[in-house]
């Protein structure tokens, strides 16, 4: 039996776990606390992972910190929904607002590799217009990035993650062929396709970050279906099995079970390193640059918690926008029952998709959304039945008997940025003695209009394929964004297009926090693409002596 990954750090003594071999190790360079490393990166997920690897490969000395453990996928991931909750950031938080968010699996991860260890692998590109949504579409805010440059980085990210996607993608400008072919559609995905065809909409196999043929040490997906949990075969191309091993080979150090609690800023107004908690004590790591990549709650929390005399409102917060404009994505669903067996739990849950309403602007609200086929596992399904329909006892039991016949569609919808939706610090303290985040969220009228539109459309699609006993799951949300938005103007943004903070030139933010708008697709591929771009930009700035 492997040692408990939570009991003590695994990446120590000059080695880190080899995620591809049971009990295996790979060599790892290690730095002393009083070494001044070039970069201390806080977070190892979709944003931190590619940046750590990219910077290490460029020759910088880098340490990646993660508060979570260093899992061994072949040994640590049981086929058990409850056991897998260990992958989420379930530390205490305060949630409020008119529509308080449910924090956990849908919007966080606490592990080396971040939430990509359990993400659903859906790897979509933004619609190009979203990078100029204020100018072109009239809502939200413009990004300081050009979509054509992003198209280049999307291509690189797709290659790095061996995305398995359709031979031709039906929406948006031309994109290069996906590195791997799409997976076979399961019953639920075929029903989405039939519904979309009945409504005259295009559909396609969803581009997924799980390989459909061998890649390196990853075997092809075995369609186990535990896809929104840890993948125990390494078919899922999470950061843990892609960029993190690359980073180690390039000489980066990963510190697992290392919670960064504060960024130190010196009298010159520059960051000097990070205070982190590991193995029961607080230590300080010197660094020339600090990158925060903790996602939309932990990133503003750390910036706010690092306030000092010089920066009393928190770091990088001269605009007052740190923590503001938090966005989630609407994740409502419509479910029904088919006469024939569907067995929606087979394979990845989101095998087909329609992005119709992301590319169709004739509607009376701003923003877009897509929907995907669904395959909730039994515990999640029972939870939906109890929370959305209030079923208990015999009624719940009877409903669960229909599990093999049930089908569903779930949206990923764009919510608009609103300064009232925000992350602040509560007075409660967590196990590290740090003030916990207060997450305040309320849906706006536009958000509600979009959700209602989507629910009607998804219901129509299910009715078109003959589903009966249709019901709506109306209150679910998932991915996060915002809270440290990027922009062209220091007064209205926290970081610039290079993810560099306007206020402190050696402090960077590189995760979903920098999104000015969140778009109507899953954000991970965009985060990874931006992180790869940021690594390139830092290399370029260093060459020019502008670092």
């Amino acid at each position: 039996m492997p040692a408990d990954p939570f009991a003590a750090p695994r990446a120590t003594g000059g080695r880190a776990p080899d995620v591809f071999r049971r009990g295996g190790w790979v060599p790892m360079r290690q730095y002393r606390d009083d070494d001044t490393v070039d970069f201390a990166v806080v977070g190892t997920g979709a944003g931190g992972g590619p940046l750590i690897a990219g910077l290490a490969e460029a020759g910088f000395s880098v340490i990646g910190f993660d508060a979570g453990p260093y899992f061994r996928p072949l040994e640590d991931f049981a086929s058990d929904e409850r056991e897998q909750e260990k992958l989420y950031w379930n530390d205490e938080r305060v949630v409020d607002g008119a529509n308080p968010l449910t924090m956990g699996g849908k919007n966080s991860g606490k592990a080396v590799g971040g939430s990509t260890v359990h993400f659903a692998m859906v790897s979509l590109r933004f619609r190009p217009e979203w990078f100029r949504s204020r100018t072109i579409l009239g809502y939200g805010a413009d990004w300081p990035l050009d979509w054509r440059e992003m198209w280049h980085y999307y291509g690189r990210a797709e290659k790095a993650l061996s995305i398995a996607g359709p031979v031709t993608y039906p929406w948006g400008p031309k994109r290069p062929r996906y590195p791997y072919r799409a997976h076979e559609l399961n019953g639920a995905a075929q029903l989405l396709a039939r519904g979309a065809e009945a409504m005259g909409m295009k559909w396609t196999a969803t581009p997924l970050a799980t390989v459909s043929a061998p890649h390196g040490q990853s075997p092809p997906c075995v369609y186990r279906g535990f896809c929104r949990f840890g993948c125990s075969t390494n078919a899922k191309q999470s950061q843990l099995v892609t960029f993190i091993p690359r980073a180690l080979r390039a000489g980066a150090e990963i510190r697992d079970l290392a919670m960064v609690g504060r960024i130190e800023v010196g009298p010159t107004g520059l960051a000097t390193g990070v205070h982190f908690h590991r193995e029961g004590r607080w230590r300080f790591q010197r660094a020339r640059h600090v990158v925060v990549a903790g996602y939309a709650v932990e990133t503003p929390r750390l910036l706010l918690a690092s306030a000092n005399g010089q920066f009393p409102d928190g770091l990088a917060n001269s605009s007052g926008l740190v923590g503001k404009n938090l966005m989630t994505q609407s994740n409502q669903a419509v479910f029904g029952t088919m006469e024939q067996e569907v067995r929606w739990y087979k394979g990845p849950p989101s095998l087909s998709i329609t992005e119709h309403w992301n590319y169709e602007d004739r509607k009376d609200f701003a923003g877009g959304y897509c929907w995907m086929a669904q395959g909730p596992l039994p515990v999640e399904w029972a939870t939906i039945q109890t929370t959305s329909r209030g079923l208990r006892g015999q009624a719940l039991r009877d409903e669960m008997e229909k599990y093999n016949h049930q089908v569903g569609l779930k949206m990923v919808g764009e919510m608009l940025p609103d300064e009232r939706n925000r992350v602040t610090l509560a007075d409660d303290k967590d196990q590290y003695g740090l003030r916990v985040a207060r997450v305040t969220y309320s849906w706006g009228d536009n958000d509600k209009a979009l959700i209602n539109h989507a629910l009607d459309q998804m219901q129509t699609s299910l009715e078109a394929v003959g589903a009966k006993e249709i019901f709506r799951q109306e209150n679910d949300t998932n991915h996060l964004a915002g809270t440290a938005r990027m922009g062209d103007d220091p007064r209205t943004s926290v970081v610039n297009a290079d993810c560099r903070s306007w206020d402190i030139p050696n402090l960077w933010v590189c995760d979903g926090s920098i999104f000015p708008t969140t778009g109507g697709v899953n954000p991970s591929l965009t985060i990874t693409s931006i992180a790869m771009r940021t690594a390139d930009r830092i290399r370029m700035l260093a060459k020019r002596g502008e670092l």
């Binding site: 359709p166 791997y180 396709a193 459909s212 092809p220 369609y223």
Partner: protein
């Protein structure tokens, strides 16, 4: 999960079978075909014709063995949910058996039972191809890449068509009057078999190309079946239309290379099985899930037929 199988597209096989049916009623004439560029030379002796026929029986048997193993694995995987899924197992087994019989048979005349089995096998392949096309077409998206990748493989039943077709041609070559050149439908047998085999090879290349594309050519050796056999097909087609009695050393060696590739392919596919989760320790899942072990020898079967045709072309002035 419909799975990779190898083999051919329907068209060449159907053409081959059609040709075979056409000539069933034809009598061989002792005259030369003057439409083809041929050199005057003495007629072929009976022993040579029988030797060539036996080689074609062997090729038909190799194809049948490939189909038997492949359809057994893949249709088992499909739980034989349709009774018709047993058909290729029965007919390919019979085709294999009569091919063995043909290889051992030294007599000069065609055998009615072998003929019957080869025709039935060919028809089964034809109907199977239609079934598989229907299977692709009924999925959402119709004839799309996605469905060509994952539905019943269109090319697989065509291998049975080819087995029946090659076997049928073997019988025609054998059924040769003493003192005449082997003819099929009035055409020199070597040329007919060479042309048909060339087309069959190209069909098989198309199937391998499709399924290796689905595998994203993740291993560079996956390019081998889409580069080596097309050259063999080209050389063979060239031989089919070129002058007879010339020594085609390159063609012969290239066909031998293609025959070898068929066996090597099974080795590569065994490695592919090992790269699936659990490798060979988990063989009961991965033999079904990984690249199909019995598929690549289809190339061997076709290359053997090509070599037999080449023998006829080289030995005979006319065919």
């Amino acid at each position: 999960m419909a799975e990779n199988q190898l083999t051919d597209l329907a068209a060449p096989g159907i053409a081959l079978l059609g040709l075979g049916v056409l000539i069933l009623s034809r009598r061989r004439r002792p005259t030369r075909v003057t439409a083809l560029p041929v050199l005057a030379a003495p007629p072929v002796d009976r022993g040579t014709a029988i030797h060539a026929a036996k080689r074609l029986n062997r090729a038909a048997g190799t194809l049948a063995a490939s189909v038997l193993a492949d359809s057994a694995v893949e249709h088992y995987r499909g739980s034989f949910h349709n009774k018709a899924m047993f058909a290729p197992l029965v007919t390919s087994a019979l085709s294999l058996a009569v091919s063995v019989h043909g290889v051992a048979d030294k007599r000069p005349a065609a055998h009615w039972f072998r003929d019957t089995v080869y025709v039935v096998a060919g028809l089964t392949g034809l109907i199977g191809t239609a079934f598989h096309i229907y299977n692709v077409g009924k999925k959402p998206g119709g004839m799309s890449w996605q469905n060509l990748f994952y539905s019943a493989p269109i090319g697989a039943p065509a291998a049975l068509l080819l087995s029946g077709g090659v076997g049928f041609l073997a019988e025609r070559v054998r059924d040769n009057k003493p003192g005449t050149d082997p003819l099929i439908a009035g055409l020199p047998a070597g040329r007919v078999v060479a042309a048909a085999t060339g087309a069959g090879l190209l069909g098989t290349v198309a199937e391998a190309g499709l399924l290796h594309f689905r595998g994203a050519y993740h291993d560079p050796f996956m390019f081998a079946p889409v580069t080596i056999p097309p050259v063999a097909a080209g050389l063979l087609t060239n031989a089919a239309y070129g002058p007879a009695c010339s020594n085609r050393r390159l063609t012969r060696w290239w066909l031998r290379l293609t025959a070898l590739l068929g066996f090597a392919g099974t080795g590569f596919h065994a490695y592919g099985v090992a790269r699936n989760m659990g490798g060979w320790r988990n063989w009961r899942q991965n033999v079904l899930n990984g690249p199909p072990l019995p598929a690549p020898p289809s190339f061997t079967g076709l290359a053997l037929a090509g070599l037999a045709a080449l023998g006829l072309l080289e030995d005979n002035p006319d065919g």
